[in-house]
């Protein structure tokens, strides 16, 4: 079962949330971030090249122009491969664990998988950063202390959706976690 809805992130950009319910014990949430805008790309390239041309008129050295082209290309490739995240996915599988994937604009994917045995809970936290923002995070159990929390892992860090989107994801996750807790608590 698959459906798609559009939300907005904390800066006002448009996000698309795709939900896939594979089975009662396996759900996937896919948030697509706004793409690289042509306007900002053109602006940055023009600035860099104008600055290089200005330096060239001062120094009369054509190496500056080639260097500027080189830097722009490398910078763009680096940005697409290391910085620009296109899509963030959260896959939650009952009794296996929770998996977070970030796909970059160049196609690179970086995945983290947390086993269900380490997950204590999934909560929405509040943070104050010039205004109040909400973020979804996974709380991990502390092996030493039974009621303690060893780590807080935030989810959807670059998409930064607003509260309404987070609530949808939170409800679904809690359904699965409740089932998981019920089965693990019974003797």
């Amino acid at each position: 079962m698959e459906d798609e809805r559009s939300f907005s992130d904390i800066c006002g950009g448009r996000l698309a949330l795709q939900r896939r319910y594979y089975s009662p014990s396996c759900r996937e949430f896919c948030l697509s971030c706004p793409r690289l805008s042509l306007r900002s790309l053109t602006a940055v390239t023009c600035t860099v090249w104008l600055a290089a041309y200005g330096l060239f008129t001062l120094c009369e050295n054509s190496m500056i122009l080639s260097a500027a082209i080189f830097i722009t290309l490398l910078g763009l490739l680096g940005y697409l491969h290391f910085v620009k995240i296109d899509q963030e996915t959260l896959l939650i599988i009952d009794s296996l664990g929770i998996q977070m994937t970030s796909s970059y604009a160049s196609g690179k994917e970086s995945t983290t998988f947390i086993e269900m045995g380490k997950v204590k809970d999934v909560v929405i936290n509040e943070a104050i950063y010039m205004k109040v923002i909400y973020y979804l995070c996974i709380l991990l159990k502390d092996p030493m202390e039974p009621h303690g929390i060893s780590q807080v892992v935030p989810v959807f860090q670059s998409a930064k959706p607003r509260l309404d989107c987070l609530i949808e994801v939170y409800r679904s996750c809690q359904e699965i976690l409740a089932h998981q807790k019920a089965t693990s608590a019974s003797p």
């Binding site: 594979y22 998996q99 998988f113």
Partner: protein, 630 residues
């Protein structure tokens, strides 16, 4: 292989065992009630209501029908399937094989269920037959996986025969299929390694958390994967090596050759280390010189590393093996770079011009220092110095410089020969060449070091005198016994002389401070250059190149974890996932497998360095080897 019913005759087989061939149920002769294997006892303690996870190897997805053999982990309600046993088989021999693997790898395997790969239509009889097998190999829960030929849709069933522990729990469990690549999981190593204590006796090892148990199971069952389909063993298995056991001629040859080669090299290295530990080298002047030269440090380090690599003991765990491999690759790269440097030096015959340029460079440096001292003796930067002290210090340093230049000129005929031998040492490695270069720089700038020490000592003396006289000025003194400042009543003449001395020292302070500043800056410059070289040497010494290469070419060997992908799914069918290995990021590879270096780093934090500079204490930029252990 035809699944049409064959004759029921168990030809040539004793009465105690029955060859099980596929066929209609009535053809199975005398199913012998066998005592339930150990697997049944494990299976009874499981978590009810949890989804049953079946880890299935991708290589067996196209195998013919048969029995599923693997390990059942009750705490996570997961069944790790390792291989498929094909018909015909004798149940007793299957159990013997499982017992053998249990002994070899200390992992408790059992027959987990049946696997049915329907190749033609209407093979219902096979289904019933397979269900009947459940009575021979009883295991809780009994897994039944079925697949249509050429279709991606599977059906799974897990049934229980025992009364469920709590009422209301179903007789059948929900099954989730997780496919894994058996070869990659076998060869990979999880980081951080799940610390499993070696079990002393008895059944399966205490299970590691979660998915580490899957890796552990596959790694321990290596004995199961030793036979392929070309062997004439009693039991026919399907696993990742069933198409032919993987082996490489080069690896085998290397293994055979490594034994004697290691023994030979270990003897050589022990001879060298015995020679270097000889009593002659412990005599005072030599031992002092050896401890100061960084070449000796580097050579000692390399000797230790090579002894480790060529020791005849086998590596106990994968970490040690990786360390040995890293050291070997690092040494080989070092030697290769050194030889490249050597060939570059010899190629255009650069040693001659280099040697000829060295003495004029040293002369030039000495001349610049002379100019500097003349400048200091005048009015440097417009400051007015105390003429007498200025002249004394300036003349003293000038004379020292003059001695140094004469020494260099004395050495000049021998420089080319020395450089030639130094260049030859590059074949021991680039790190050795760099260390020698750093030592040569230290020797050539020895006069700067001397000037720094003189200036620092003078300045330090002055500061000490000033601080104690300042205390006298205020009517206090330093109590050595109590290590604190106490008040004290001085006599008038003590106060008079003290104040006089204090005034003299204060007015002479700028001159001394300026000399100290200039020579400290020069010394720091030289230390910076040497530090850069040491940094490069350290980098070559400690970078784990083999691990980085492995991460680049065989990323599944170094695993940080796993990742899952949901495969094509249809409602009503069990969920199918693909488990892949998530490789370790490069930063963590370097961090985990870094080789220990000499430790010749500048170790002072900035605060204490500034304090030492202010008070004129001498700075030793890197710890000597003796201090490292303290």
């Amino acid at each position: 292989m035809g699944l049409v019913s064959r004759g029921a005759a168990a030809a040539g087989v004793g009465a105690a065992s029955a060859v099980v061939r596929p066929g209609p149920p009535h053809a199975v002769p005398h199913p012998i009630p066998t005592p339930p294997p150990e697997g049944a006892a494990l299976g009874s303690s499981r978590v009810p209501g949890m989804v049953l996870k079946a880890f299935f190897p991708t290589c067996c997805a196209s195998a013919d029908s048969g029995l599923l053999v693997g390990r059942w982990v009750p705490e996570q309600s997961s069944a790790v399937v390792l291989a498929v046993v094909h018909f015909p088989f004798i149940p007793l021999q299957v159990k013997e094989l499982l017992a053998q693997v249990h002994q070899a790898g200390r992992v408790g395997l059992a027959v987990l269920g049946t696997w049915c790969h329907r190749r033609q239509e209407a093979e219902e009889s096979l289904g019933h037959f397979l269900e009947g097998l459940g009575t021979i190999f009883s295991h809780e829960p009994w897994l039944q996986l079925c697949r249509e030929q050429g279709s991606k849709l599977w059906s799974c069933k897990a049934t229980r025969r025992q009364v469920p522990p709590c009422p209301g729990a179903p007789y059948e469990d929900q099954v989730m299929l997780v496919f894994y690549d058996q070869r990659k999981v076998l060869l990979s190593q999880l980081h951080p390694p799940a610390a499993l204590p070696d079990c002393l006796a008895g059944d399966a090892a205490p299970s590691a958390g979660g998915l580490a148990a899957v890796f552990d199971t596959v790694a321990r069952s290596e004995a199961l994967f030793r036979s392929d389909r070309f062997d004439d063993g009693p039991v026919r298995l399907s696993h990742w090596q069933s198409d032919g056991v993987e082996a490489s001629i080069l690896a085998e040859l290397a293994k055979r050759a490594s034994g004697p080669v290691c023994v030979l090299l270990a003897c050589l290295l022990s001879l060298v280390s015995a020679a270097s530990a000889c009593r002659l080298f412990k005599l005072w002047p030599l031992s002092f010189v050896w401890s100061k030269l960084s070449v000796c440090e580097q050579l000692r380090h390399r000797l230790e590393q090579l002894t480790l690599v060529f020791s005849t003991q086998k590596a106990e765990n994968p970490t040690q093996l990786m360390r040995k491999a890293n050291v070997l690759v690092s040494v080989l790269l070092d030697v290769a770079l050194g030889l490249a440097l050597l060939s570059w030096l010899r190629g255009k015959d650069r040693i001659g011009p280099l040697a000829e340029a060295l003495v004029p460079v040293a002369d030039h440096v000495a001349e610049e220092l002379q100019h500097l001292l003349q400048w200091l003796m005048g009015a440097p930067a417009g400051l007015k110095m105390n003429r007498a002290l200025d002249q004394v210090l300036g003349r003293f340093f000038l004379y020292h410089l003059h001695l140094w230049i004469s020494y260099i000129h004395l050495m000049s005929p021998f420089i080319e020969r020395i450089l030639w031998h130094v260049g030859l040492s590059a074949c021991l490695g680039l790190t050795v060449a760099l260390s020698i270069l750093s030592d040569i720089i230290a020797l050539l700038t020895f006069h700067i070091y001397c000037f720094y020490v003189y200036g620092a000592r003078l300045y330090c003396l002055k500061i000490c005198g000033l601080s104690s006289l300042w205390r006298l000025f205020r009517g206090k003194k330093w109590n050595v016994l109590r290590q604190r400042v106490d008040s004290c009543s001085y006599d008038l003449d003590q106060l008079f002389i003290g104040t006089l001395l204090f005034t003299i020292l204060v007015f002479l302070l700028p001159t001394t401070a300026l000399y100290y500043l200039v020579f400290t800056l020069l010394r720091l410059l030289v230390v910076a250059v040497q530090g850069l070289m040491h940094l490069l040497v350290d980098l070559i010494n400690s970078l784990p190149l083999y691990s980085l290469g492995l991460r680049l070419c065989r990323p599944y060997r170094l695993a940080a974890g796993v990742k899952f992908r949901v495969l094509e799914h249809e409602a009503g069918r069990p969920l199918r996932l693909l488990m892949q290995i998530n490789p370790l990021p490069y930063g963590r590879v370097v961090h985990t497998y870094r080789l220990p270096s000499c430790g010749c780093h500048p170790t002072h934090p900035w605060g204490s360095l500034c304090r030492k500079l202010f008070f004129g204490e001498l700075i030793y930029p890197w710890r000597q080897r003796g201090d490292k252990q303290a």
